[in-house]
Symmetry: C2
Amino acid sequence: MEITRSNLTEKLEEIAEAIDQATFLAVDGEFTGLDKPDCSHSAPFDTAKERYFKLKEGSLEFLMIQFGVCAFKFKEDTQSYEARPFNFYVFPRPYTRQAPDKRFLCQSSSIDFLVQQGFDFNKLFREGIPFLMPTEEDVMRESLAGKHQAFSKFSSPAFVSPDGADMGPGKGPVQIPDEQKDFIAGVCNKISSFIETSESEVLQLAPCNGFQRKLIYQTIRTKFSAVHLETKTGEKKDRFIVVTKVASEDDLKKKEKDKQNAEIMELEEAVGFSKVMKLISKSGKLVIGHNMILDVMHMLNDFLCPLPADLEEFKSMVKCCLPRLIDTKFMASTHPLRDVIPNTALGNLQETLEKGPFTPAKVELMEGFSDYQNATDKYHEAGYDAYVTGCMFATMTNYIGNYKKPDPKPAVAPTEAVLKPFMNKLFLMRIADIPYLNLGGPDLEPNRDHVFHLSFPREWKSADINNLFAPYGSIHISWLNDSSAFVSLFKKDNAAVVLKTLAMTQSQYQLVPYNVYKSKAGVASSL
Amino acid sequence: MEITRSNLTEKLEEIAEAIDQATFLAVDGEFTGLDKPDCSHSAPFDTAKERYFKLKEGSLEFLMIQFGVCAFKFKEDTQSYEARPFNFYVFPRPYTRQAPDKRFLCQSSSIDFLVQQGFDFNKLFREGIPFLMPTEEDVMRESLAGKHQAFSKFSSPAFVSPDGADMGPGKGPVQIPDEQKDFIAGVCNKISSFIETSESEVLQLAPCNGFQRKLIYQTIRTKFSAVHLETKTGEKKDRFIVVTKVASEDDLKKKEKDKQNAEIMELEEAVGFSKVMKLISKSGKLVIGHNMILDVMHMLNDFLCPLPADLEEFKSMVKCCLPRLIDTKFMASTHPLRDVIPNTALGNLQETLEKGPFTPAKVELMEGFSDYQNATDKYHEAGYDAYVTGCMFATMTNYIGNYKKPDPKPAVAPTEAVLKPFMNKLFLMRIADIPYLNLGGPDLEPNRDHVFHLSFPREWKSADINNLFAPYGSIHISWLNDSSAFVSLFKKDNAAVVLKTLAMTQSQYQLVPYNVYKSKAGVASSL
Ligand SMILES: Nc1nc2c(ncn2[C@@H]2O[C@H](COP(=O)(O)OP(=O)(O)O)[C@@H](O)[C@H]2O)c(=O)[nH]1
Ligand SMILES: Nc1nc2c(ncn2[C@@H]2O[C@H](COP(=O)(O)OP(=O)(O)O)[C@@H](O)[C@H]2O)c(=O)[nH]1
């Protein structure tokens, strides 16, 4: 089901119900980009801490522009699932004058990729759902409440500026400066002849500046009781006051109440997609994703709370906001599934899971959610990817629950017991020897005695490095920049002899064991 | 005329001709955003230097996504212009594997604005013309030339890696490490049975890593002379070698030559829009824009050369790349036009220039360029805005050329003499007292003795500041942050008395003359 700003309010209850009834939720996000160059080059010998830092620095200025969540409900009687996939377009259009005007990064290759997949950017920018961070929402709610309260306190909008900002508690009216006196007198004349002679109910004053508007508000409210004032914004962002005739004090209050309600509604719409994320977070449900670390980081950072610099703090924050996570890419690349799954990319994995030894889990799209029934062309639409991820998760859960059991069951519910080995472990890409980020405890710190840091002249190519190491068998080079790289030995046993023969100070190159290099770098960066 | 990546190559000559024949060019750009928050808040008491720095820091990470250039040719016989407007969609899709994958900023409100105007982002991302900075182009040309030269030198691609990067001059082949021997032997067997028994002309090897590809290249070229090798990229970005049978050494050379030509064509396409900008720059023609400082900065920075930090260097650079510029917004807000033009915004200005005392210049759209004939709905399409800007320029030039002349001519050609007062002066927005950036000499340094820097408690509102200054007449407040602002007096003569009564060290606020504040800030920032 597609959700845009046109139908979010209407569908919010249905979304809440789907989340509430779910056995688990599968999610997926699409982004305007993945990584900034330089600062954040992921390397195969990053530590977990380093990788978190690189992702945080390099990925969060991009925007999540589509979010898919698919609610799966396990039905004991039929041993099958009911699925409700939602596909959200998300875009931070500055919804109200007070809403922040966000700046965000895009990456050409990511935009190109999405366009190739048929992503509709015009729909995104026109129909995307806005959102506010809770802190932004709080500021706006407070400011609105303050403004509304000030009104009820003075029981007259006389001292309330249009955006509620200028009025401190207990402050009185401003003195009218000499140069403004003519202007204000002109406005008063205009309004009094409007009240007395005009047949129209509404008078639009000419645009003027904020200070002049303030003066008009305070003067008019003391001079005339039969009018209501409101500031509006014109096409060219000019601000002007609209004067409306009122029959009585009650009529005035009602008009003011209506205006306040409209402002509250507008704020609710501006909070927008953050409401969905809060529903997911508050549900505490098991959340599934495929290669989901970036999704999780954006879900938290963009809609709930800016990410902390420290990895351990991040883990506490995830525990609090999304307490149970399973990454299907980690699941698929771990025993026992690893042995029967050659390639864990989403498309490949889906193919693998359709054949033996797997039995595809039974999943039924609920009424009103049938867009994805036989959709093979919807890949990389977030809602579809979330749906597929959930299906794969169900199938893999069945396999694991039945693994080496004498009498396999048609379906296995995703219980804590079955899923324990995979719980809260997020797949880490392109790290040679740390397969996952462990949200539930300390991260792995593998032995890297067979890894060396090598510095060399800029003219060197991989051939030179390969030649240098030729006597010690195959190597893997991971470039850091054009004059240094990490080199790891396939034959780990050769580490000692490499160290002995190559790790002396040389004029041409310099070789340092990984651990020595890291402890030096640590010292250097803490200076 | 709309130009996208589908028709640029075909239309380039027509564009060059239009530029070459032009009396002047009018330009306009559309951007993904205008300013970053914080660092670049334009203030009414910026100096020219400060404003340049703020624009450079705050605006250049956004992208110019549409560029309009309209070539106007003055015809003596009919005393009218022929116009040829071009509207370019520009987007840095990474065209080749070597082309940079650009990251750029977007601003929500700007995107929203463009969408409201009907801008088609899907077309932009799909059909936008790519571009390379000259330095990027040079690197790619050199690398390609090196690769092609290496081939002709060795007269065999044996020692040339697929991306031409691994081969230094005079370097020999790499030794095959033990673990790779089986793999290479397997490939050799496959190829020899392909040559001997297969009916197909082409064999696709399995994807493998760069080092393995290098080994395959060098081994195969020494073992087999009847095949040609080429590296291709698969759908999933995997790289594999394609083996093709060749009849003779000549056939091999021809295949290689065809491949080289295709690579050169691909590079030309990647240079893309930068070619258009180079044509404009090399033409040395008079270039017109409306409020054009950001357009000029992007034209240079994105396609010709990164902007320098120093304003004087920037002026030299503009002189070199775009030697004659006229800003119609500056023209319209300067004597004698200022007296007859109430509002210089593009749309308002166009309306004003259609009535007396103005006589609209005669402009005819040339054949094939009639999209804008009666288009009033094309505002904010760059090509249309460029066309309108050029028309307004012609009309204003007529007015100025005839100003206070006894017998006005029907049209006045845009000559140096007539335009001298406006040449190379770019309009500066929202600076109280410096109307333009003077590209042709030093900038104005107006007296600011009536301006004060005020620090105050965070709780203060404009009302408090207005109250403080009430005895000295109207003021203008320009906020710096929530505890400081510049305050300027309408009654400049009051500066001395304000200084005497308010500028003493106070517990609540602190008032410092503008000049004192600036010299202190200068010292602070140079520490
Ligand atoms: N001196 C030298 N530097 C290289 C070579 N190949 C790659 N590099 C450097 O290593 C960086 C990363 O390269 P690599 O990991 O191959 O590419 P990436 O993962 O696609 O960015 C490059 O930006 C270069 O600075 C080479 O052959 N010689
Ligand atoms: N203390 C205080 N700060 C203000 C007030 N109005 C504006 N500011 C500060 O000045 C900055 C710029 O405000 P302004 O020039 O009005 O808005 P802008 O030009 O739309 O960014 C704001 O971000 C605030 O930090 C006010 O009434 N009181």
